[in-house]
Structure formats: C-alpha cells, structure tokens
Amino acid sequence: MRYLPLTDAERRQMLQVIGAPSVEALFRDVPEEARLPGPLDLPKVMGELEVERALTAMAAKNVPAGSVPFFCGAGAYRHHVPAAVDHLIQRGEFLTSYTPYQPEVSQGTLQALFEFQTQVALITGMEVANASMYDGATATAEAVMMANRLTRRGKAILSGGLHPHYREITATHGRFTGFETVLAPAAPEGGEDLMGLVDANTSCVVVQNPDFFGHVRDYAALAEACHRAGALLVVAVTEPVSLGIIAPPGEMGADIVAAEGQGIGVGLNFGGPYVGLFATREKFVRQMPGRIAGETVDADGRRGWVLTLSTREQHIRREKATSNICTNSGLCALAFTIHMALLGEAGFTRLAELNHARAVQLAERLAAVPGATVLNETFFNEFTVRLAKPAAPIVERLAKKGVLAGVPVSRFYPKAKDLLLVAATETTTEDDIEIFATKLTEALR
C-alpha cells in the first residue's frame, strides 16, 4: 500500500499513546450492526503497473480526436494546448493546494486568479469576472438566477440558439428553484422574435454568440430592447476562441456573460472538467455567484491578493448565499490563464483568425459536396450543414471509415434528422478537410 506511510509497529505505538486496544475500537460510535467485519469482498490492492495496464486497456477502446480527421464541436472544441500549460499546472504547488482561504500561503493561486479574472473581463468586454464556475452550462443557469435576484423578476427567455444543454440545465434549476423558463424553438436557420416573449416579469433574455448553429450575431439592438423592458441580457459563449475575432458581448450591451472556457488551455476530456467563465458589470458584483480574488495590501503595505466579497458566499451567508457553489474549477482556470498568457493579444487574435479561415475552407469544400448544404451566412469555426440523408447514420458510417464527422443535431433535437454541426480549428488540416469531403460524398451517394 504505497500511499500509506504507517508501519504496523507504528500503528501499535500510536494506539498505545491513544490508549485504545485496536483501530476498530476507535470506531465504537458506529453502531455495531452497521460496521463491516472486514474488507468487502472486492478486488484487492494493485500495483502501479497493473492499474496502468487496466486503464490503458480502457483508453485504447476509444478513438482519440487527434488520431483521425476530426470535426466535432457543439460546445467542446479541440485546440492545440502548448506544452508549457500542462507542465505548469502539474507543479505540485498549484495541483495539490486547496482553495486559497489562507492568503499568506496562497499568493500564487490568488494572483493567478486575479489575472484570470482580468483576462476574462478583457475578452468578454465586461468590467468584472469571478474566479470560475464548473462550466459554461452551469454558469448560464447561475447567470439567470443572478438576473432574477437583480431584477426581482422570475422568468427567463432562452433563445433557440442557446446550447440545448445550457437550456436544459437552466430549466432544471427553474423547476426546483421556482422560476419560469421560456424555451424559444430551436432556430437552425436563425431569426427569432425573442422580444415578443418578454413581459413585465421577464428577468432576462439568454442568447448565445456564435449561436448553437454557428451563426454570428450582433445583439446590440436586443440589449437595448431588453433594457427598455427592465430585463437583462445574458450572453453565453461556448467557444472562447471566437472572442478573438468577434465583437465582445460587453460591447453589445450584455449585462452578464456566461462562457465555456474549455477551448483555451483545457482538453476535450470527454466533457469535463471544463471551466465556466462568468463576467458582469461592476455595479452587479455583489449579486455575482462564486469566488472572487481581489487586490489589497499586507501589514507592510505591500500589494497582495485575497478572496474577497465572501459575504455573498455559502460559507458565510449560508441559506442567504448568492449560490451554493464552493469548489469551482481552479486548476482549469489556471490552465486557461497560462494558455492565454502564452497567446497574448497577437496570438489570441491570430488563433481566432486561423480557426475561422479553416472553417471557411471547410464550408466551401462541403458546399461542393452533392447533397450537402451549408445553412450559415455567418459563422466562426462551426456551422450547420443540411444533408440529403439523416445525419446520425452518416456520422456512424464515417466513424467506421476513420472520420469523426461532427455532431448530428438529432442528438439534441430528434426531429432535426438532416442537420449536422461541423467544426474546424487550427488543428484541422487541408488533408483532413479533403478526406472528410470525399468520404461524405461517398456516404451521400
């Protein structure tokens, strides 16, 4: 048992100091009938080699994105993460530390979070950001609840262009917390009248940019209309890289931005852990959920960092807290911060341009495939294709031929059988695009 330092002799010595006859005696408060007599009849201790062998065998049954031409997106994007990112987040002082409640021994984490908050505020065009949420989807649900508190209203309008998981999670919270969610119908070709759904009890309208089907939108007019109606505009972003080339939600008048940060610094990981970005206006900060790092000075007057405004949080405010969140996504936020630091202004912008250019190449090539129609006028690195045959079986067929061809919309909306979401990033090559187009042509024939 390589992780357990005590020897049997030491255990006996310690029991003597304690004055207990056995370790079992220390469990005397547990009712006798609930105590197991000995270890459960389950597999026993295993060496590193054996564990590695067993899990490597499971990993080998999966098809990694990097091993094939790959076009999946729909809220999770494959990007190249510089080697330095993973090296730095694996430093034990970051990896094996707790939430920075003791600031004098956590200045590293706290300063990194302050930098994270600044980066998030800058790319979203907002004034302030928190120190992360679980993911973009839960951040969106929290944004709606924050809007409810700020407006003292209880109804959220969710765009048909909002990621279906973000919609479902917000609706789940609505059902149990007691607010209404109005789900506008999915609009693959764009065009929806959200203001028509707004009434005097509407706390917020939630939209996404680019939306779930890939369309890039300017929400400035919607923001104005929301504000006239006393409601807030929440903008969700599922691909943070898009913010390198698309005008930020803050510039359009968003009140809260809830974004998925995975695309910067965090791998696909089969859907988690990811990192939720959460940004808002300064005047709303006391209703913001989650932890926040802030600047202060120490006893010698030197600049330093602490967690602040904690009277919003559960460990102080208990049932009156703005959210029940405690552990968030610290290490993924750090990965985001480091990757963003490496990119810098020039790298971030170029990465976005590169993603877009690849997606344009892909769209132009797929548009030439008989039986495939690109629905989007505008997009960033993902768009919707209408196929002459149902998309899900086509995707299955292409997977067998070694192409992960995107995400069938029917996975979320069963009736939308002919729609396929395809994404390209800087990791997509021209060869990948050609192979995909060729195999798709065959499959649609």
């Binding site: 499971m58 002082e93 302050f114 990119l343």
Partner: protein, 514 residues
C-alpha cells in the same frame, strides 16, 4: 518603464521596510502581474491564416483587447514564481479539517492524460468511446459497492453540486407522491453549502442544535420532524469529527414522517471501506472524489460529486447515465422521470479516471486501511495535543479532531493568530472558526497519508506554540506570519473598495479623480 522598476513601484507602498535591494528574499522572488509585462510578444508561433473570404459578418471585433504579449520563457518563469508562493500537500502536512488534503498519486495524473481519455469529445459516436463509458460504469460500480447503494448519479461537478442533485431528486420524489413539503432540517454544525443548497431548491431551512456531546440533539430533531419536512441533511461523521451514534434512530425517525435522509459525504474518508452509508439508512449522499478519492484540489477545483441514491430516489436521477445495451455501453440522455440535466455533457471524466485509479490502487483491503489510518492519525494527534490544547469533545474522534479556543483564554491570542503562527513554522493552518458550534474552532484533519514522524513533528510544534501563548508571548502570534511572501493581508480593505481586475495605470488615475 523597465519591467523591474514597474515591479518595484507596484509592490512597495510607502513605509514598507526594504530588507533587500530587490525586494526578493532568497528563493522568494517578487513577481509582478502579467499585465505589467506587455512587450507585444507572443509565446506561440501560429502560421499565417490562409486567405479566405471572411464570414464573420457585421459583429467583427474592432479595436484592441488589451492582453499582454510575452514569450514562453517569461510565462514559464512567471507561473513558476507564482507557484512558489503556494503551500501544497506536496510541500507538507495540510491539516485542513473537512477538506481531506491527502496525497495525490501521480499515476492518476498520468492516466487522466492518456489520449484515449483526455482527447475524446463528449459527443463522438458512442461506438467510438466505449472505453470511456466502461470507465464511468466501472467507477459507478465501485461507488455503489462501497456505499451499498443501488444507484449513482455521476454528473455532479463538485460536492455542492451533488447536494443540489440529491435535494432535487428528493423534491422530485416527493412531487411524484403528490407532496410539496416546505422544510429541510440542517444541524448547526453543517457545512454552509447544506443550507445554501436547501434554499436553492426552494426549501426553508431549520437548524437543529447540537447536544453537549457534539451530536445531533435527537429530542430536538424529533420535535421538529413533521409532515412538512422534506429531508434532513446530515454530515456523518459530522464536522466536529464525531460519528453520530444515533444515526440509525435518526434515519428511522426521518423515514417515519415520510422524509428523506440526505448525507453530506464530505467526511466519507473516515469510514470508506468499513461502513456502508446504505447500512445507516441513507437515501442520498454525494461523494467528493476530490476528498476521499484523492483527485487533486487544484487550488479550488475542479472536483466531482457523484451522488449515490436509494431505490426510492434512483428513478429521478439526472441525465445522462450509462447502461449496458445490446451493442455495448450506451448513454441515456433523456428520461421522463429524471429530474433533468445538471451538467453540460457527462460529468467530470478527468476526475473519474483519477478516482478509479485511486480506488483500484487500494482495493477493498487498501481502503479498509485508508479509513483505519485516517482515524488512527486523528486520534493520535488528539492524544498528543490534549495536554495543552482543549478538545471540544471526548474522543475517540473519527478522521478529524476539533479543538476550541479555551486553551487560549486570557492569553490575548486568538484562533486566527495561532493559525498564522503555524504558517511561520512551515505548516498550513487547520480549518479555523468552523464548525460554528464551538468557540474559536480549530479543526485538524491529518489524513492517512501522513507518517508518524510527520505527525510527531507537527504535534511538537503545536504544543510548543500553545505553551508560548500561555507564557504570555502574544506579540509573537500577533506579528505572524513573518516569513511568508506577504504578511497578513487586509481583507476588510479588499472588500470595502473591491479591486477585482487589473486596469491600465491611466484609467486608475482617472478613477481616482472621479
């Protein structure tokens, strides 16, 4: 302005005593903010994008973002220096009660990074992720076996998220019975997430007092149990580090009024492999994989909080879940009775890999030893420290031991000061001022991954500090910590005038003028 002069002016307010010319102290090197380094460089080399007809449309970004541009060596140095300002488990004993800061095996990091786990997309065809679903299924199997519970919801992202899941499942089950109950009972000693969760699910919270033994006051509980009570949220072992000996009677009383027993599993490390929550009458319990099963805390996450559920609650579990289908493993993503979806995609896969590796490494016999050693280590510290410190309750304790501040009476030293003095001695402080049921709480959880030698050194230091406090050297404590990168930080000032992000110097001045 050069990088150095900027750092110096940024870090040294007037009146600060300069001990060295640079402000650095040996291995402790000052580090300014990334945003104070801007040199217009980049730490990545990306190719020129191919020329295409742009299709962004009207909403194209104009103007600069304001991100600093630095090269890779600068970035590596920056974050390495920051890391060196953190305490960590790798550095030393991290006795944070209720947080279970145990060793994080590096095998688990390696396995989570296998491309077959780290580089797969959540929406790939399920035929291409059979191994991932197998891993989730296998971890679920272990969690069910270790808790004796029939079902587990894997998707919650952390303990508090698991609480939401459990309480929502309870509410869904009650609604399916046609009942809308109003109240959730929460002991005074509970984690803050418990009442926050209950409130987030539309319940009012009623506190149950602790008795003089630090346990739930059974009589007070029974008096509060009524038909409008939906559930009790009980941490067991509780946050005083004590097992609730009346747990079976509590469960029975709760069930008698048709309510549910939610167990906060934050302290599962004390009993893992030895006691199954199902045998305690639990209906739902979250398991913090980042505590008991040692996925790294990462400076505040990510965690994972799967929730085991009883037969009565299982039908209401959130989507998705893994089933054994005809063609192998399948994912159920929609279900009529399910409470709905709580998390994007399928949960914290990266944490699942680490937790399964941890569980398999130990096996049933190893986990038996884990809880045994965790409890032994805590009791050993109780025995070593009780001469000078004041334990709040009689032992034996479970995996953590609670002291209060009676031993500091009339010394002029507060719990906070005592904790800060420990920092100077090279230790992360214990949990302070929690739980709220005793005055000036100091909650110590050593975990099973500390050696006897490590515990002895820690105990010697704590005892010596206690003697020093009693000897009247309050100044020593008030001045602590003195050897950290920063001394005590002004938290009041931080909250009064929040500075939550960096801004260019010009706008700072403009703000000051406002």
């Amino acid at each position: 302005m050069s990088e150095w002069s900027r750092a110096a002016s940024g870090f040294r307010a007037s009146g600060a005593e300069a001990e060295t010319i640079s402000g650095n102290r040996g291995l402790q090197i000052e580090e300014n903010l990334l945003f104070e380094k801007d040199g217009g460089r980049s730490g990545v080399d990306l190719p020129e994008p191919p020329k295409v007809r742009e299709r962004i449309g009207a909403a194209r970004r104009k103007g600069r973002i304001g991100l600093p541009g630095v090269s890779e060596p600068q970035v590596v140095r920056h974050f390495t220096r920051l890391s060196q300002k953190n305490y960590s488990i790798d550095t030393g004993l991290y006795p944070l009660g209720s947080c279970t800061m145990k060793h994080n095996p590096r095998l688990n990091e390696k396995l989570a990074r296998l491309p077959g786990f780290a580089d797969i997309h959540p929406l790939q065809p399920v035929s291409t992720v059979q191994g991932a679903l197998e891993l989730i299924d296998r971890l679920a199997w272990w969690l069910k076996a270790l808790t004796g519970m029939p079902a587990v919801a894997m998707s919650p992202a952390a303990g508090a998220h698991g609480e939401l899941c459990g309480i929502m499942a309870i509410r869904a089950a009650l609604e399916a019975r046609g009942e809308r109950r109003q109240k959730i009972l929460v002991p005074e000693s509970a984690h803050g997430t418990n009442p926050a969760t209950a409130a987030a699910c539309g319940y009012t919270v009623e506190a149950i007092p602790a008795d003089e033994r630090g346990r739930v006051d059974l009589a007070a509980l029974e008096a509060k149990l009524a038909p409008d009570v939906a559930a009790i949220m009980l941490t067991n072992p509780n946050t005083c580090g004590l097992f609730e000996p009346d747990v079976l009677r509590i469960a029975e009383a709760v069930h008698r009024v048709g309510a549910f027993f939610y167990c906060d599993g934050a302290n599962f490390n004390a009993i893992v492999g030895r006691v199954r929550p199902a045998d305690l009458g639990v209906d739902a319990m979250h398991i913090n994989l980042h505590k008991t099963f040692s996925t790294p805390h990462g400076g505040g996450g990510p965690g994972a909080g799967p929730v085991v559920l009883s037969e009565a609650l299982a039908p209401f579990a959130p989507v998705p879940w893994v089933v054994h289908g005809k063609k192998g493993f399948e994912l159920v993503e929609k279900d009529k009775r399910s409470l709905g979806r709580l998390k994007g995609f399928h949960g914290q896969m990266g944490m699942f890999v680490r937790a399964l590796a941890y569980i398999m490494s130990h096996g049933a016999d190893g986990l038996w030893q884990v809880s045994g050693d965790a409890v032994l280590n805590a009791n050993y510290l109780l025995a070593r420290l009780r001469g000078e410190l004041t334990p709040s309750f009689e032992g034996p304790c479970m995996h953590e031991v609670l002291f209060d501040d009676r031993f500091l009476k009339d010394t002029g030293v507060q719990t906070l000061d005592f904790a800060k003095a420990l920092i100077d001695e090279g230790y992360h402080p214990m949990t302070m001022y929690f739980p709220l049921v005793v005055h000036g709480a100091l909650l110590v959880e050593p975990t099973e991954t500390e050696s006897k030698d490590s515990l002895d050194r820690f105990a010697d230091v704590v005892l010596a500090l206690a003697r020093r406090a009693k000897a009247g050297d309050a100044e020593h404590f008030k001045a602590a910590p003195r050897f950290t990168p920063r001394r005590r930080l002004d938290e009041t000032a931080a909250a009064r005038k929040p500075v939550l992000r960096w801004r260019p110097a010009k706008s700072e001045k403009a703000e000051a003028a406002e």
